[in-house]
């Protein structure tokens, strides 16, 4: 089954031209043991006059993986881990694997863990770094992916703050990670 996880694809982004920004991301993520936070998502679809807005919480733990919980306007939960892949959790708490999402698993966990090597063959990355903020601009390397995704922008400082996925059709999805509480290992 073809699953293009638009959100996730934005997270897929990592670069062949790895430089300061990615290095900064890796350094920041290296000591992270866990992150709790909230997110908002605005999905802009051409035919709809107003964007679709949703919100929720996420929890990342290095040893376990990521739980992404949409709480408004409808509830849904996604679990991502290296050993079990990507799974959707239904209302009864049962998890169902999503096929064809191995790449997404690598991307989600790679972004939060700061290890993005597995994604280097997918995107070209341009990066900018101000004093405190870094920005990544990702464009697909393959023509096939380019037919769906135009580009992805990631902004962060001391972790990822915002992700914008712009589709080839013009639709876009903006995600903001808020109120992040980071647990770091003692070194």
């Amino acid at each position: 089954m073809i699953r293009v996880l638009l959100f996730a694809i934005s997270l897929l982004s990592c670069g062949a031209n790895a430089g300061a920004a990615i290095e900064q991301l890796a350094i920041d993520a290296k000591s992270i043991q866990g992150i709790n936070g909230k997110f908002t998502q605005s999905r802009h679809i051409a035919i709809l006059s107003t964007p679709l807005r949703s919100a929720g919480e996420f929890r990342y733990q290095r040893e376990i993986g990521l739980v992404w919980h949409v709480s408004h306007p409808v509830e849904s939960t996604l679990e991502i881990s290296y050993d079990k892949g990507l799974r959707l959790v239904n209302d009864d708490g049962e998890a169902k694997s999503v096929t064809g999402a191995e790449l997404l698993t690598q991307l989600f966990l790679g972004l939060f863990s700061g290890n993005l090597d597995a994604l280097l063959d997918i995107f070209n990355i341009d990066e900018h770094k101000d004093e405190a903020t870094w920005r990544l601009h990702l464009t697909p390397k393959s023509d096939a992916l380019r037919q769906h995704i135009s580009h992805i922008n990631i902004v962060g400082n001391n972790g990822v703050n915002a992700i914008t996925v712009v589709e080839t059709s013009g639709d876009r999805n903006e995600i903001h990670l808020l109120e992040q509480h980071i647990e770091r290992s003692i070194e």
Binding site: L5, Q41, S49, T50, D117, I122, A144, S169
Partner: protein, 780 residues
């Protein structure tokens, strides 16, 4: 001595015609080879035409499926960079080849498929959607779609939200490309297998995979690449790789058998005859044989199979027999014409019986064996004719005696045979008992007809092929259900119904493999259109409910404007798209094939279902081919039996009671050949090899009958046997199963003939020089 001046005009004319003919054939062969495509290595060429045509017609020939190949380049390493860089390098190298076209994987074909189905998006439903629209309320459908919009897992949408808000067509299109989900959208498509990351390169040859040019260009690049990247694993899948291996193997076998035979001949001639003229005479005869064999094959067949050439290398061992008999007789009589006259009857009968055996082989339905038969018949005939020519011209003043060699038989061999004749009864009993035991062994082993045993591909290549097919989820192309119908629409309905029944019986069939699911019948399309129109776009349909939930202006949606189009039929599928969906590849207008998954078990319930369905046939290609080989083996065995009876009657008619000796020797030789040469059961090729055994065994016996079993004939037979045993012994070591089977049987047959024939002659008291030979010698 015969001199050129004393030649009769008729002899000159004969020799002139013969050399002119050889020259013409040589020029013809050289031209044919220089034009290219003179040789082929397709293993199917060995099978009966009807069978190979059946295999090749399994798919639409215009799609050139057999030219496709897939390469997986991987490295078990967390960082894929080196594998990606290497794959990129290989991709560029392959793209530079004129003989190869590399698939672009740029999504263009997918886009074309998407565009093709776009006008019909409101009349196509997956079985899941059909069920949902039938059973769920519009409100619940709208709620599910609404929730999905906020899910972090966004669904693949080939058509935009405005055109296909519930992604009905998207899901439908997705079921046609189930394998797409396993690929990573990397610069070069890749897939994961545990910790192993594989980059995928695919393409097709511009010509047949059996054409050496394209084959060699691709293999050269790949081998160089593998040599330079030994840390990478390269998996290969495609007919071209099997064909290339077969070509390399056949070429090696030709070199081994050919060189081995020639070296043995040269060593024997130098050791025994010690004469450059004798060596020249032998080389001239062998050259004439090979040129005649090859020329005849080129005249009759467009291309000559490399296995024909490899097998034809044994011609050297057979053709040289006549030379040895001639040269020994020449040394004995010191006159070439007399030598030929002495051996004329034996030569005609010997060459005649061998040629007759190959003519019989030519009548077999196996195309490859027909070529071998033509090659050998022409080669043997040319060798015999050349002996006649030598009779006019051969003159060797160097008359080194080979009395040392002539002492071998009377001094070391004959006494042993004589000793055995003293216990005639015991020896005969042991021979009889041996034959009975060997027959019992043959019956116990039974037949061996599995077509897979003929595969000459290496274990490594077969493992690589299976790995690629498993990773890419290719179905089993050897087993399928064949469905036929009276109209194309009926075919679509029947195949969809059958797929449904299969699924109910636990046999999962992908929609992409069933034409009726990849392209529903017009009736099904109309039903689905009505369902979509009512449940999705109707006044109180799911779209209206979704609009309420979204709290948006939905006026841009095509609520009332959808229309049915009746042009989605098999005839309108563009040729360029047919490669994308397996069901399109496997279908013709009135018949189609549903490929089964590799692990599909044909349970009795499924068998019963298939049997009750009219116009549905379960086909297991491997089993069918094996059964064809079994039938051929049975029929060939019966025909061989008939041939042996007729041949025996001919021998009896010519030699009366003396015919018993060649017949008994032949019986023992045939039994021993099969018992010792067919260790894993008797195959069709073992039976066909018996034809050669018959020819060779009779050859030896006829010369003993005609010229007497004495030091000279035994030496000539011995020298012939050594060269032939070497040629067929090398063939028995072949890695090409067909050649191995032939070689093993003939090798045992030759050894047995060499040892047993004199014994039988001694046991029957036929070991004296015939009176007509004694008389002729004294006259001269």
């Amino acid at each position: 001595m015969t001199s050129i001046a004393t030649k009769k005009p008729a002899q000159r004319l004969f020799v002139g015609i013969w050399f002119s003919l050889l020259l013409c054939i040589t020029v013809f062969c050289v031209q044919h080879i220089r034009q290219g495509d003179a040789f082929e290595s397709n293993i199917l060429g060995l099978l009966p035409n009807s069978v190979s045509e059946n295999i090749q017609s399994s798919t639409n020939p215009s799609l050139n499926i057999e030219r496709k190949f897939v390469l997986l380049i991987g490295k078990a390493n967390p960082s894929p960079n080196s594998a990606l860089d290497a794959s990129r390098e290989l991709l560029h190298q392959l793209s530079d080849l004129n003989e190869v076209r590399i698939d672009q994987h740029n999504g263009e074909q997918l886009k074309q498929l998407q565009n093709f189905y776009q006008p019909y998006t409101n009349q196509l439903l997956t079985s899941t959607w059909r069920h949902r629209l039938t059973t769920d309320t519009p409100k619940s459908i709208a709620q599910a779609a609404y929730a999905e919009l906020f899910s972090p897992v966004g669904t693949y949408r080939p058509y935009n939200f405005q055109h296909d808000p519930f992604n009905l067509a998207g899901d439908w299109l997705q079921q046609l490309l189930p394998q797409q989900g396993q690929f990573r959208a990397s610069e070069i498509p890749s897939l994961k297998d545990g910790n192993q990351l594989w980059y995928v390169i695919s393409g097709e040859l511009q010509a047949s995979p059996f054409s050496p040019d394209g084959q060699q260009a691709l293999i050269y690049v790949l081998n160089n690449f593998a040599k330079n990247h030994q840390d990478l694993t390269i998996l290969r899948s495609g007919i071209v790789f099997h064909a290339a291996e077969a070509t390399a193997l056949s070429t090696k076998e030709i070199s081994t058998v050919g060189l081995g035979s020639i070296l043995a001949i040269i060593v024997l001639v130098i050791a025994v005859f010690r004469s450059s003229k004798s060596l020249l005479a032998i080389l001239a005869t062998l050259s004439a044989s090979v040129v005649a064999g090859l020329g005849s094959c080129f005249l009759i067949f467009d291309q000559v199979h490399l296995i024909t050439i490899a097998f034809g290398s044994t011609l050297l061992g057979l053709a040289v027999d006549y030379c040895f008999h001639f040269l020994i007789k020449y040394r004995q009589l010191q006159n070439a014409q007399f030598a030929v006259q002495h051996m004329k009857k034996g030569l005609i009968f010997s060459a005649g019986s061998s040629i007759l055996a190959y003519v019989f082989q030519f009548l077999s339905p196996l195309a490859g064996l027909q070529q071998i038969a033509v090659f050998m018949c022409a080669g043997l005939a040319a060798a015999a004719i050349n002996i006649a020519v030598l009779g006019f011209y051969f003159n060797d003043s160097r008359s080194v005696s080979f009395s040392t060699y002539l002492q071998i038989f009377p001094k070391y061999i004959a006494p042993h045979y004589l000793r055995l004749t003293h216990t005639k009864l015991t020896t005969s009993f042991i021979l009889l008992l041996s034959v009975i035991i060997m027959v019992a062994v043959i019956i116990h082993r039974g037949g061996s007809d599995d077509i897979r045993s003929l595969n000459s591909s290496s274990a490594g290549l077969i493992a690589s092929e299976i790995k690629v097919q498993t990773l890419l989820n290719f179905p089993d192309q050897q087993r399928y259900l064949q469905i036929s119908a009276q109209s194309s629409q009926q075919l679509l309905s029947h195949s969809a119904l059958l797929a449904n029944e299969l699924n109910n019986n636990g046999v999962a069939t992908s929609a992409s493999h069933v034409i009726g699911l990849a392209l529903p019948s017009l009736i099904q399309q109309q039903e689905d259109f009505a369902l979509i129109k009512e449940k999705v776009y109707g006044p109180s349909g799911a779209l209206t409910e979704l609009c309420k939930l979204l709290a948006n202006d939905c006026s841009a949606w095509p609520t009332k404007s959808i229309e049915f189009s009746s042009s989605l039929t098999p005839n309108n599928i563009p040729q360029g798209l047919k490669m994308l969906v397996p069901a399109f590849i496997m279908s013709n207008t009135l018949d189609t094939r549903i490929l089964l998954a590799r692990d599909t078990n044909i349970a009795p319930e499924l068998n019963a279902l298939i049997n009750t369905e009219p116009n549905v046939l379960y086909v297991d290609t491997v089993a069918n081919l094996s059964h064809s080989l079994q039938l051929l083996r049975h029929n060939t065995s019966l025909a061989l039996g008939g041939f042996l009876i007729i041949f025996s009657l001919c021998l009896i008619a010519v030699y009366r009671n003396k015919a018993l000796a060649p017949l008994i020797a032949l019986g023992i030789t045939i039994t021993a050949s099969i018992a010792f040469g067919a260790n894993n059961g008797v195959s069709l090729f073992h039976i066909l090899a018996l034809l050669l055994v018959i020819g060779l065994s009779v050859d030896t016996s006829i010369f003993y009958l005609e010229l007497g079993l004495n030091a000279e004939t035994w030496l000539a037979a011995g020298l012939s046997a050594i060269t032939s045993i070497l040629a067929f012994g090398l063939l028995a070591l072949s890695k090409v199963p067909v050649l191995h089977q032939f070689g093993s049987v003939v090798f045992v047959g030759l050894v047995c003939t060499w040892l047993i024939s004199p014994l039988i002659f001694y046991l029957l008291n036929l070991n004296n020089i015939p009176p007509h030979v004694t008389r002729k010698c004294s006259d001269e």
